[in-house]
Protein backbone atom coordinates (compact mmCIF):
# COMPACT_ATOMS: atom_id res chain seq x y z
CA UNK A 1 0.00 0.00 0.00
CA UNK A 2 1.03 3.59 -0.53
CA UNK A 3 1.74 5.70 2.51
CA UNK A 4 -1.39 7.80 1.86
CA UNK A 5 -3.48 4.70 2.36
CA UNK A 6 -1.81 4.03 5.68
CA UNK A 7 -2.38 7.57 6.86
CA UNK A 8 -6.02 7.28 5.88
CA UNK A 9 -6.38 3.99 7.79
CA UNK A 10 -4.62 5.31 10.88
CA UNK A 11 -6.72 8.47 10.92
CA UNK A 12 -9.93 6.48 10.50
CA UNK A 13 -9.14 3.95 13.23
CA UNK A 14 -7.84 6.60 15.65
CA UNK A 15 -10.96 8.74 15.20
CA UNK A 16 -13.06 5.63 15.86
CA UNK A 17 -11.15 5.09 19.08
CA UNK A 18 -11.62 8.73 20.10
CA UNK A 19 -15.33 8.41 19.36
CA UNK A 20 -15.62 5.29 21.53
CA UNK A 21 -13.73 6.86 24.42
CA UNK A 22 -16.08 9.83 24.22
CA UNK A 23 -19.12 7.54 24.37
CA UNK A 24 -17.73 5.86 27.47
CA UNK A 25 -16.98 9.21 29.12
CA UNK A 26 -20.56 10.32 28.55
CA UNK A 27 -21.79 7.06 30.00
CA UNK A 28 -23.49 6.06 26.76
CA UNK A 29 -21.48 2.90 26.26
CA UNK A 30 -20.89 0.25 28.89
CA UNK A 31 -17.21 -0.19 29.64
CA UNK A 32 -17.28 -3.87 28.74
CA UNK A 33 -18.23 -3.09 25.15
CA UNK A 34 -15.72 -0.29 24.91
CA UNK A 35 -12.99 -2.74 25.87
CA UNK A 36 -14.05 -4.93 22.98
CA UNK A 37 -13.93 -2.11 20.47
CA UNK A 38 -10.83 -0.47 21.87
CA UNK A 39 -8.78 -3.64 21.74
CA UNK A 40 -9.87 -4.12 18.14
CA UNK A 41 -8.99 -0.50 17.42
CA UNK A 42 -5.52 -0.81 18.93
CA UNK A 43 -4.73 -3.92 16.87
CA UNK A 44 -5.96 -2.27 13.70
CA UNK A 45 -3.97 0.92 14.41
CA UNK A 46 -0.79 -1.09 14.85
CA UNK A 47 -1.42 -2.97 11.63
CA UNK A 48 -2.27 0.22 9.74
CA UNK A 49 0.65 2.25 11.11
CA UNK A 50 3.37 -0.31 10.62
CA UNK A 51 3.18 -1.76 7.11
CA UNK A 52 5.98 -4.20 7.92
CA UNK A 53 3.82 -5.94 10.51
CA UNK A 54 1.08 -6.27 7.95
CA UNK A 55 3.41 -7.54 5.24
CA UNK A 56 4.87 -10.04 7.65
CA UNK A 57 1.43 -11.20 8.74
CA UNK A 58 0.32 -11.56 5.14
CA UNK A 59 3.35 -13.64 4.32
CA UNK A 60 2.78 -15.87 7.34
CA UNK A 61 -0.81 -16.44 6.34
CA UNK A 62 0.14 -17.04 2.72
CA UNK A 63 -1.78 -13.98 1.52
CA UNK A 64 -0.05 -12.41 -1.46
CA UNK A 65 -1.70 -9.01 -1.41
CA UNK A 66 -1.07 -7.40 2.00
CA UNK A 67 -4.17 -5.13 2.14
CA UNK A 68 -6.32 -8.25 1.91
CA UNK A 69 -4.67 -9.47 5.12
CA UNK A 70 -5.76 -6.24 6.79
CA UNK A 71 -9.33 -6.78 5.60
CA UNK A 72 -9.24 -10.39 6.75
CA UNK A 73 -8.15 -9.41 10.26
CA UNK A 74 -10.76 -6.65 10.41
CA UNK A 75 -13.46 -9.01 9.21
CA UNK A 76 -12.53 -11.69 11.71
CA UNK A 77 -12.88 -9.15 14.51
CA UNK A 78 -16.24 -7.96 13.23
CA UNK A 79 -17.46 -11.53 13.08
CA UNK A 80 -16.48 -12.08 16.69
CA UNK A 81 -18.24 -8.89 17.70
CA UNK A 82 -21.40 -9.83 15.77
CA UNK A 83 -21.57 -13.26 17.40
CA UNK A 84 -20.94 -11.69 20.78
CA UNK A 85 -23.86 -9.32 20.22
CA UNK A 86 -26.18 -12.18 19.26
CA UNK A 87 -25.21 -13.92 22.46
CA UNK A 88 -25.76 -10.78 24.49
CA UNK A 89 -29.10 -10.18 22.77
CA UNK A 90 -30.30 -13.71 23.55
CA UNK A 91 -29.39 -13.22 27.17
CA UNK A 92 -31.16 -9.87 27.33
CA UNK A 93 -34.27 -11.28 25.67
CA UNK A 94 -34.41 -14.09 28.20
CA UNK A 95 -34.11 -11.53 30.98
CA UNK A 96 -36.83 -9.22 29.68
CA UNK A 97 -39.10 -12.24 29.21
CA UNK A 98 -38.55 -13.31 32.78
CA UNK A 99 -39.21 -9.75 33.94
CA UNK A 100 -42.44 -9.60 31.95
CA UNK A 101 -43.58 -12.85 33.56
CA UNK A 102 -42.71 -11.65 37.07
CA UNK A 103 -44.49 -8.37 36.46
CA UNK A 104 -47.63 -10.10 35.20
CA UNK A 105 -47.71 -12.44 38.20
CA UNK A 106 -47.22 -9.53 40.63
CA UNK A 107 -50.00 -7.53 38.99
CA UNK A 108 -52.33 -10.48 39.30
CA UNK A 109 -51.53 -10.75 43.00
CA UNK A 110 -52.23 -7.09 43.50
CA UNK A 111 -55.50 -7.38 41.65
CA UNK A 112 -56.49 -10.32 43.83
CA UNK A 113 -56.09 -8.19 46.94
CA UNK A 114 -57.84 -5.11 45.62
CA UNK A 115 -60.56 -6.44 43.32
CA UNK A 116 -62.38 -3.09 43.18
CA UNK A 117 -59.91 -1.10 41.14
CA UNK A 118 -58.78 -3.34 38.36
Amino acid sequence: MKWEAHVLLVVTVVSCIVFIVRLVRRGQLRAKYSMLWLSIGVVLVVIAAFPRVLAHLAELAGVQYAPIAFLLVAMAFLLVVAVHFSWELSRLEERTRTLAERLALLEQRLEERTPADS
Binding site: R97, A104, L105, Q108
Partner: protein, 236 residues
Amino acid sequence: MPPNALVVVPAFNEQAALPGTLAEVLRHVPPAQVVVIDDGSLDDTAGAARAAGVPVVRLPYNLGIGGALRTGFSYALEHGFERAVQIDGDGQHDPTEMDVLLAGLDDGADLVIGSRFLRGGGYEVSRTRGAAMRLLGRFVHSLTGQRFTDTSSGFRAFGPRAMRLFARRYPAEYLSDTVEAILIACRAGLTVREVPVRMRVRAEGRASTRHFRLAYHYVRLLVVMAAGAGRKEELA
Protein backbone atom coordinates in the same frame (compact mmCIF):
# COMPACT_ATOMS: atom_id res chain seq x y z
CA MET B 1 -60.68 -33.03 39.29
CA PRO B 2 -58.43 -33.26 42.37
CA PRO B 3 -57.90 -29.97 44.25
CA ASN B 4 -54.14 -29.97 43.70
CA ALA B 5 -54.43 -29.49 39.93
CA LEU B 6 -54.54 -26.19 38.10
CA VAL B 7 -55.97 -25.61 34.63
CA VAL B 8 -53.71 -23.23 32.70
CA VAL B 9 -55.38 -21.51 29.75
CA PRO B 10 -52.93 -19.61 27.53
CA ALA B 11 -54.91 -17.14 25.44
CA PHE B 12 -53.89 -14.66 22.77
CA ASN B 13 -56.71 -12.59 21.26
CA GLU B 14 -59.32 -15.14 22.28
CA GLN B 15 -62.01 -12.73 23.43
CA ALA B 16 -64.59 -14.49 21.27
CA ALA B 17 -63.80 -18.13 22.04
CA LEU B 18 -62.69 -17.79 25.66
CA PRO B 19 -66.13 -17.47 27.38
CA GLY B 20 -67.23 -20.77 25.82
CA THR B 21 -63.99 -22.53 26.73
CA LEU B 22 -64.09 -21.27 30.31
CA ALA B 23 -67.77 -22.17 30.75
CA GLU B 24 -66.89 -25.73 29.77
CA VAL B 25 -63.84 -25.87 32.01
CA LEU B 26 -65.79 -24.48 34.97
CA ARG B 27 -68.20 -27.39 34.75
CA HIS B 28 -65.33 -29.55 35.99
CA VAL B 29 -63.29 -27.30 38.28
CA PRO B 30 -63.92 -24.27 40.54
CA PRO B 31 -62.67 -20.88 39.25
CA ALA B 32 -59.83 -20.84 41.79
CA GLN B 33 -58.35 -23.87 40.02
CA VAL B 34 -58.16 -22.10 36.68
CA VAL B 35 -55.84 -19.37 35.47
CA VAL B 36 -55.97 -17.56 32.15
CA ILE B 37 -52.63 -16.29 30.88
CA ASP B 38 -53.44 -13.36 28.62
CA ASP B 39 -50.44 -13.34 26.33
CA GLY B 40 -50.43 -9.64 25.49
CA SER B 41 -53.78 -9.75 23.70
CA LEU B 42 -54.94 -6.71 21.78
CA ASP B 43 -58.60 -7.50 22.40
CA ASP B 44 -60.39 -7.87 25.72
CA THR B 45 -59.28 -11.42 26.48
CA ALA B 46 -58.59 -10.46 30.09
CA GLY B 47 -62.08 -9.00 30.44
CA ALA B 48 -63.63 -12.21 29.14
CA ALA B 49 -61.69 -14.17 31.78
CA ARG B 50 -62.71 -11.76 34.57
CA ALA B 51 -66.34 -11.97 33.49
CA ALA B 52 -66.12 -15.72 34.04
CA GLY B 53 -64.66 -15.09 37.51
CA VAL B 54 -61.35 -16.71 36.63
CA PRO B 55 -57.99 -15.25 37.76
CA VAL B 56 -56.11 -13.75 34.85
CA VAL B 57 -52.42 -13.01 34.52
CA ARG B 58 -51.79 -10.34 31.90
CA LEU B 59 -48.44 -10.41 30.19
CA PRO B 60 -47.33 -6.89 29.19
CA TYR B 61 -46.53 -8.05 25.64
CA ASN B 62 -46.79 -11.22 23.60
CA LEU B 63 -44.32 -13.86 24.76
CA GLY B 64 -45.64 -16.71 22.66
CA ILE B 65 -47.44 -19.76 23.98
CA GLY B 66 -44.27 -21.09 25.64
CA GLY B 67 -43.83 -17.87 27.61
CA ALA B 68 -47.47 -17.96 28.62
CA LEU B 69 -47.11 -21.55 29.83
CA ARG B 70 -43.97 -20.78 31.77
CA THR B 71 -45.88 -18.00 33.50
CA GLY B 72 -48.66 -20.49 34.20
CA PHE B 73 -46.24 -22.91 35.84
CA SER B 74 -44.80 -20.16 38.03
CA TYR B 75 -48.34 -19.20 39.02
CA ALA B 76 -49.16 -22.83 39.82
CA LEU B 77 -46.06 -23.27 41.97
CA GLU B 78 -46.65 -19.98 43.80
CA HIS B 79 -50.19 -21.07 44.61
CA GLY B 80 -49.17 -24.49 45.83
CA PHE B 81 -50.51 -26.61 42.98
CA GLU B 82 -48.86 -29.96 42.30
CA ARG B 83 -50.08 -30.50 38.77
CA ALA B 84 -51.14 -28.45 35.80
CA VAL B 85 -53.30 -29.14 32.76
CA GLN B 86 -52.90 -27.00 29.67
CA ILE B 87 -56.06 -26.16 27.78
CA ASP B 88 -55.90 -23.77 24.85
CA GLY B 89 -58.23 -20.80 24.92
CA ASP B 90 -59.61 -21.43 21.43
CA GLY B 91 -61.80 -24.31 22.53
CA GLN B 92 -59.88 -27.00 20.65
CA HIS B 93 -59.44 -29.10 23.75
CA ASP B 94 -62.37 -30.87 25.37
CA PRO B 95 -62.23 -30.32 29.17
CA THR B 96 -64.00 -33.62 29.78
CA GLU B 97 -60.74 -35.29 28.74
CA MET B 98 -58.72 -33.60 31.51
CA ASP B 99 -59.24 -36.57 33.80
CA VAL B 100 -57.68 -38.87 31.20
CA LEU B 101 -54.53 -36.74 31.25
CA LEU B 102 -54.44 -36.56 35.03
CA ALA B 103 -54.86 -40.32 35.25
CA GLY B 104 -51.67 -40.56 33.22
CA LEU B 105 -49.88 -38.54 35.91
CA ASP B 106 -51.31 -40.91 38.52
CA ASP B 107 -49.69 -43.77 36.61
CA GLY B 108 -46.30 -42.25 37.29
CA ALA B 109 -45.72 -40.03 34.26
CA ASP B 110 -44.27 -36.52 34.67
CA LEU B 111 -45.63 -35.23 31.39
CA VAL B 112 -48.77 -36.61 29.74
CA ILE B 113 -49.59 -35.67 26.16
CA GLY B 114 -53.09 -35.98 24.82
CA SER B 115 -52.80 -37.50 21.36
CA ARG B 116 -55.33 -36.99 18.60
CA PHE B 117 -54.04 -39.94 16.62
CA LEU B 118 -53.45 -42.65 19.17
CA ARG B 119 -56.12 -45.34 18.80
CA GLY B 120 -57.77 -43.46 15.94
CA GLY B 121 -59.00 -40.26 17.50
CA GLY B 122 -60.78 -39.46 14.25
CA TYR B 123 -58.92 -36.19 13.84
CA GLU B 124 -58.18 -35.20 10.26
CA VAL B 125 -55.28 -33.05 9.07
CA SER B 126 -54.17 -32.07 5.59
CA ARG B 127 -51.73 -34.37 3.81
CA THR B 128 -48.70 -32.04 3.99
CA ARG B 129 -49.33 -31.30 7.63
CA GLY B 130 -49.73 -34.99 8.33
CA ALA B 131 -46.42 -35.74 6.60
CA ALA B 132 -44.67 -32.97 8.51
CA MET B 133 -46.06 -34.27 11.79
CA ARG B 134 -44.88 -37.81 11.01
CA LEU B 135 -41.44 -36.46 10.16
CA LEU B 136 -41.30 -34.69 13.51
CA GLY B 137 -42.42 -37.88 15.22
CA ARG B 138 -39.60 -39.77 13.55
CA PHE B 139 -37.00 -37.22 14.65
CA VAL B 140 -38.28 -37.22 18.19
CA HIS B 141 -38.18 -41.02 18.10
CA SER B 142 -34.54 -41.05 17.00
CA LEU B 143 -33.59 -38.59 19.73
CA THR B 144 -35.57 -40.03 22.60
CA GLY B 145 -36.07 -43.66 21.60
CA GLN B 146 -39.74 -43.19 22.36
CA ARG B 147 -42.63 -43.24 19.90
CA PHE B 148 -45.04 -40.33 19.84
CA THR B 149 -48.03 -40.07 17.54
CA ASP B 150 -48.85 -36.43 18.24
CA THR B 151 -45.75 -34.44 19.12
CA SER B 152 -47.42 -31.10 18.43
CA SER B 153 -50.44 -31.64 20.66
CA GLY B 154 -50.92 -28.78 23.12
CA PHE B 155 -53.33 -30.73 25.34
CA ARG B 156 -51.04 -31.82 28.17
CA ALA B 157 -50.78 -32.48 31.87
CA PHE B 158 -47.68 -31.69 33.92
CA GLY B 159 -46.59 -33.32 37.16
CA PRO B 160 -44.62 -31.48 39.88
CA ARG B 161 -41.21 -32.32 38.43
CA ALA B 162 -42.23 -31.21 34.93
CA MET B 163 -43.73 -28.02 36.35
CA ARG B 164 -40.54 -27.10 38.15
CA LEU B 165 -38.42 -27.81 35.10
CA PHE B 166 -40.69 -25.88 32.75
CA ALA B 167 -41.28 -22.90 35.06
CA ARG B 168 -37.59 -22.23 34.63
CA ARG B 169 -37.12 -23.18 31.05
CA TYR B 170 -39.78 -23.60 28.45
CA PRO B 171 -39.18 -23.10 24.72
CA ALA B 172 -41.12 -20.11 23.48
CA GLU B 173 -41.25 -20.35 19.72
CA TYR B 174 -44.05 -21.85 17.70
CA LEU B 175 -43.73 -25.69 17.50
CA SER B 176 -40.90 -25.64 20.03
CA ASP B 177 -43.42 -25.19 22.81
CA THR B 178 -44.74 -28.64 22.04
CA VAL B 179 -42.07 -30.71 20.29
CA GLU B 180 -38.96 -29.30 21.94
CA ALA B 181 -40.63 -29.51 25.34
CA ILE B 182 -40.87 -33.29 24.90
CA LEU B 183 -37.15 -33.45 24.20
CA ILE B 184 -36.29 -31.27 27.19
CA ALA B 185 -38.42 -33.45 29.44
CA CYS B 186 -36.79 -36.63 28.12
CA ARG B 187 -33.31 -35.18 28.49
CA ALA B 188 -34.12 -34.26 32.08
CA GLY B 189 -35.01 -37.90 32.71
CA LEU B 190 -38.73 -37.28 33.10
CA THR B 191 -41.28 -39.89 32.12
CA VAL B 192 -43.31 -38.74 29.13
CA ARG B 193 -46.43 -40.61 28.08
CA GLU B 194 -49.11 -40.24 25.44
CA VAL B 195 -52.76 -40.96 26.05
CA PRO B 196 -55.55 -40.91 23.45
CA VAL B 197 -57.92 -37.94 23.63
CA ARG B 198 -60.63 -36.53 21.44
CA MET B 199 -59.96 -33.09 20.07
CA ARG B 200 -62.08 -30.70 18.09
CA VAL B 201 -61.00 -29.20 14.83
CA ARG B 202 -59.72 -25.76 15.72
CA ALA B 203 -62.47 -23.17 15.97
CA GLU B 204 -62.44 -20.09 13.78
CA GLY B 205 -60.48 -17.07 14.94
CA ARG B 206 -56.83 -17.95 14.90
CA ALA B 207 -55.34 -17.42 11.49
CA SER B 208 -53.30 -20.48 10.62
CA THR B 209 -49.61 -19.93 10.22
CA ARG B 210 -48.56 -19.23 6.67
CA HIS B 211 -46.77 -21.94 4.75
CA PHE B 212 -43.34 -20.36 4.50
CA ARG B 213 -43.43 -19.47 8.16
CA LEU B 214 -44.40 -23.03 8.97
CA ALA B 215 -41.52 -24.29 6.86
CA TYR B 216 -39.16 -21.91 8.65
CA HIS B 217 -40.32 -23.19 12.03
CA TYR B 218 -39.85 -26.82 10.98
CA VAL B 219 -36.31 -26.14 9.81
CA ARG B 220 -35.52 -24.15 12.96
CA LEU B 221 -36.86 -26.97 15.07
CA LEU B 222 -34.71 -29.53 13.28
CA VAL B 223 -31.62 -27.40 13.93
CA VAL B 224 -32.56 -27.00 17.59
CA MET B 225 -33.17 -30.73 17.90
CA ALA B 226 -29.87 -31.61 16.26
CA ALA B 227 -28.00 -29.11 18.42
CA GLY B 228 -29.60 -30.45 21.57
CA ALA B 229 -28.91 -34.11 20.80
CA GLY B 230 -27.04 -35.83 23.57
CA ARG B 231 -27.35 -32.87 25.90
CA LYS B 232 -28.35 -33.53 29.48
CA GLU B 233 -30.92 -31.36 31.15
CA GLU B 234 -30.63 -30.64 34.84
CA LEU B 235 -33.62 -30.88 37.09
CA ALA B 236 -33.97 -28.00 39.49
